[in-house]
Symmetry: D3
Subunit: 260 residues, 6 copies
């Protein structure tokens, strides 16, 4: 908290209309001219901010908002590289952001160059980096991941969730990882979905925790998926679960039997 | 609003107990001696009321309540015919209404004679008009619709929903239309059902809107079904959706993926 | 109510965290030093209390809490036997209770000796009485029930539910009964589960009602299962349904169609 | 409960709009054609119903609704007199009831003739019985009470509350009693008023309890006022307090100091 | 609705923290760069918009937000003058608005020149127009009103409320009017205040209604004050009362006695 | 948080029934056998825990619960004395605690010996230390404070609130301080009281903050009273206000005027 910078006129907001079955949830953003959009990149001393950190994570939403936030992201990544800290990104491409004059393709290419771990779907890889799975590839995700690592040699792990949305109230998700070889988790069924907002952040947060606490990437991936699935069962965008509860699901306890 | 007539002692009420899974919802009506039951048919100048209208819709609940409401319905239909307005009816037969001395068969036969579009299921057609699908008919709805149009030459379109209730929380519905030839929509799955009260009115309202805005009856039917399905996901009996949201479902977006 | 005894310092409590899909519900008990745990068995005059009763029911939770509650249970059963009243038990074995120095095996063996009807799963039979289904038995429940009746000749009926938990929001349950021969009900699907707390008590309560009102054990079992299923659709641990509503489900009306 | 008679088509209802400060609460009644209005007086065997009772209480609302309810009231009072039971009435005159053809003056005169205890304000006494306080009387309530007892020799006690409504959120009330001599309580201040519906019934209920448990009418009156005042602090029309809590207020503890 | 113009990026918002007793309510505005702030004055054809209107009302908040909104206000007033429509203003001076480069003094002087009725307190008159009550004036409001009318000859009526805030939960308000001579209402006590947001708009709305429906300004003022007082008893910023309810308070029924 | 000790079987609970006007709030404690009651004093290394602290505060509830909690309190005070930290106590005498065999008089005398600042009312001083204001003393609090300081030479400041409870919904409170000479604040009126639980802790918390931030004890006292008053307007036992909001009240802004 001691590195928080206060400036600007207003907080960004978003409004959520909660969906059900075939009626989707809707998010309306109100971020125009928010304090975050108008931040001053020079106000952050990243070497100082990151000096005791183990890991830096950022998402593609941040550089999409303004030239200032893109610059601050680049500065943070550069400092992390200097300090030898692991850097991860959720590329999270949203076409209708990116209104400030630079293209997502150009900015994200530069930023991802400095990352060790990347959350990236096949769609995002095509839209941002023009990477398509090799024609006829059996495993499209692995094919994409291979090319992504070839293009960005700093990247060691490419991860993503595959989401089979049955309805606004029923999701099936699995985790996928490519780090030279391919690993995936089984699908988890989530029905009813209580609130899916925050499910992606829970996945990445789970992967960071898992990477720091488990011996293998497969375990980290499994922990990440279980964390994300549990988030779908909780109201709000904070994942109010303990590591023990995530591990309970990770070990295959997915029937929701009463615990007493 | 300027044609609303105020009279009588009390509003009709209904009480709803909301069901779940295998426990059905229940509706208890308290309409005895309501203002609507006791209305005076002579209080409505239908030629004046309808002079700028494009469409008149009524349901079989209205003439079921009292001789007075049946008379008012007949007067409204007669005026609509004089003015060349399209008339539609949801026949909506409920056996335990119709307590005032005239039979549903006799009254509805008279009223439906003046209608262009009719919502009618095979059960209703048999109960009200003694019409049964031809023995061995492949398509029972089309067979019934054909006979209904033969009997009532004013009718041009017979429509209905087919409802496969899986549980109080899971419905499957499709739309059907006979206008000389037969058209149907695919089934839509609705799970969970948030509130099914008002789903029939949303279907008919959607069909009227669709008939006035689309080139073909098949599109109108598809719009009607999507409107009805969306109503099942919203609390209350008012369909709080925009035409654009109905069209989104109508175009096949039924997985409830988050919109942002 | 006139036989209620008031004593002790505090009520026992339990805290419930409501689960959804793959996140289970959790129950945390706080019964240490509750009034019930510290009751005085001599404060109950069971011959007087039971003099107009038809049926005595108890559960394995009660003797698990303290020597005092175990003694009171034994006294109640003895009085019921003297008075010729039917005695039933839900054995409900919970390993982490039974902390007061006597074993569940010893105490429950003594208590069950005086019972006519017992709710007991295969797991409970093995844990409490060392009874295992005969190796290779087709019907494990029947095999267990047969041995249980052989061991405790007073027992005439062994019943249980089989629960296939699909998720915290989806249960499938059936009822099973052995009284010399084996009877079972079809499975009922419950989705969504609104609240499963109290489902076991609703089953036993339904079986007592059914035994007193129907000619055959199969009907009593069917009534018990329907009562339990309906409880899963209602918030709270009280089964707010009428006998007519249970019978409606018992007769196969499980699709939750709107009643009006 | 065993003497409850079930008949008719619908329950009466009332709708309450809760007021605050200078905006009054409003009650809208919907009792037309309710089961109570249409009851059959012959369905009640009052000698049987009252055979173990100590006290019969009725209010002026009941005979105001229909000739049938007036007859049932008269029958109950006659039975109570035969059995030597104390009879009390809250005359509760509401001009806009009494629509069925008999006057309140005539009916209430007959019914009050058989009462021992009557809740009656000066306004009610004038409207119903034409009794006005003697010109220049120091104590208008006592003057009215004296005349009421003179007119109806069966009456032994006339009681009432005096209500000084400061706002919809602030009431001051005292209790008054005339039984040959005059007694009153001090005023109690109630601010904020949480819900005043049921305050009159709590007063009368309190007076009955007080008369049966205390040596003097002044104590019964004091208990009645405290009970009514506490009702004003509780949501709903049921007085969810214990006799000990009423006595706490009755003993002058009206500052609402935290109890722990 | 047919004259509504849609443009811009976001709606303005405000956040309300509800106070109680000595803790005040707080309003935080988020209007920076809202659609309203950025409107195009040329988008409104005021002669067309106002052609069937009787009255134009605006408040000092509007010209305080941006040069564009100030221009639109001036245009609307000019059109109203051309069409002979009554114009009223609530000057509503808020120092911390007015950030766009012109002073409130200069802009409001120009706008008020075209008004017939003005809501203005002594503080606002001093801050905006440098008008102070004559030294030693008995009636400061009348003295201010006299000078305001002398300065702006179009003004015929100056009105205001005087608010004695006892606490966040207790207000006393009266209405004042100067139109050559001085009129005031008695104070109304409002306790508890349910929600004071919208009380000023309810006052002005009441004065417009009162001016159009009553013979004298004193009655219009009395109606306005009663409307404002009732608003304080209702949650939200919409005055959900009928004219009959306002008149009930206007006639002195301010004790909030239960209506039934 | 790093010094928190986890042990025992259950948390203590309390149940609160919220009062209004003349019906008091009620607190029922359920602390028997709680983890706190059964703590092990040796589990706390107070010299380590307090090594960076400026102030130690404890209340008389803690040593009232068990010999163990009394010992832990004594240990903490001794460590604070060794480290030169200011020690304050809210003596908070509750007769119906203190069930474990030592008297409040003996234990509190020992503990208070090590304190610099004490919250103590005249009643508490008499009950715990046998100190009565000098007969005929004009200022009873000052007289008590003088004797308390004489008896316990470590004490430098004796403070308290005086509470005039008008009703469960209306309190008047002032702050009093004796530190050789006497200081008091004016009374603050709090109506309506939203929730008075936590008002005492807010007072002491405010006094600690005030002592560390203001030059004079009178200012610290004024801050403490304002903090306590604001707590009475907020639901829950946490004082959700900023120091700036406390200072706003402290400067005399007690009318709750809308802030915008």
């Amino acid at each position: 908290m001691q590195h928080t910078v206060y400036s600007g006129q207003r907080l960004g907001l978003y409004f959520l209309e909660v969906g059900a079955s075939l009626r989707p949830s809707k998010v309306v953003y109100d971020r125009a001219n928010s304090s975050f959009a108008n931040l001053d990149p020079a106000a952050f001393n990243w070497d100082e901010i990151l000096k005791d950190a183990q890991w830096l994570h950022w998402t593609g939403i941040t550089p999409a908002i303004s030239a200032a936030t893109a610059q601050a992201t680049a500065d943070a990544i550069a400092a992390a590289r200097r300090l030898g800290i692991t850097v991860s990104a959720d590329v999270n491409y949203r076409r209708n952001l990116w209104q400030y004059g630079q293209t997502a393709q150009q900015v994200m290419t530069e930023l991802v160059t400095g990352c060790d771990v990347v959350v990236c779907s096949e769609n995002d890889a095509e839209d941002l980096f023009g990477i398509q799975p090799a024609p006829g590839a059996d495993n499209k995700f692995a094919s994409m991941g291979e090319q992504l690592i070839a293009r960005f040699p700093q990247i060691k792990q490419v991860i993503s969730t595959r989401r089979k949305t049955q309805s606004a109230s029923h999701e099936r998700i699995k985790g996928m990882l490519f780090d030279g070889s391919y690993t995936e988790t089984p699908y988890l069924d989530i029905t009813p979905v209580v609130d899916r907002i925050g499910g992606g952040d829970a996945f990445m947060g789970g992967f960071i925790y898992g990477s720091l606490h488990y011996a293998t990437p497969a375990e980290a991936l499994s922990f990440a998926l279980a964390a994300s699935a549990l988030k779908h069962t909780i109201h709000g965008d904070v994942n109010l679960v303990t590591a023990a509860e995530v591990e309970h699901v990770m070990q295959g306890n997915t029937t929701g039997r009463l615990v007493r």
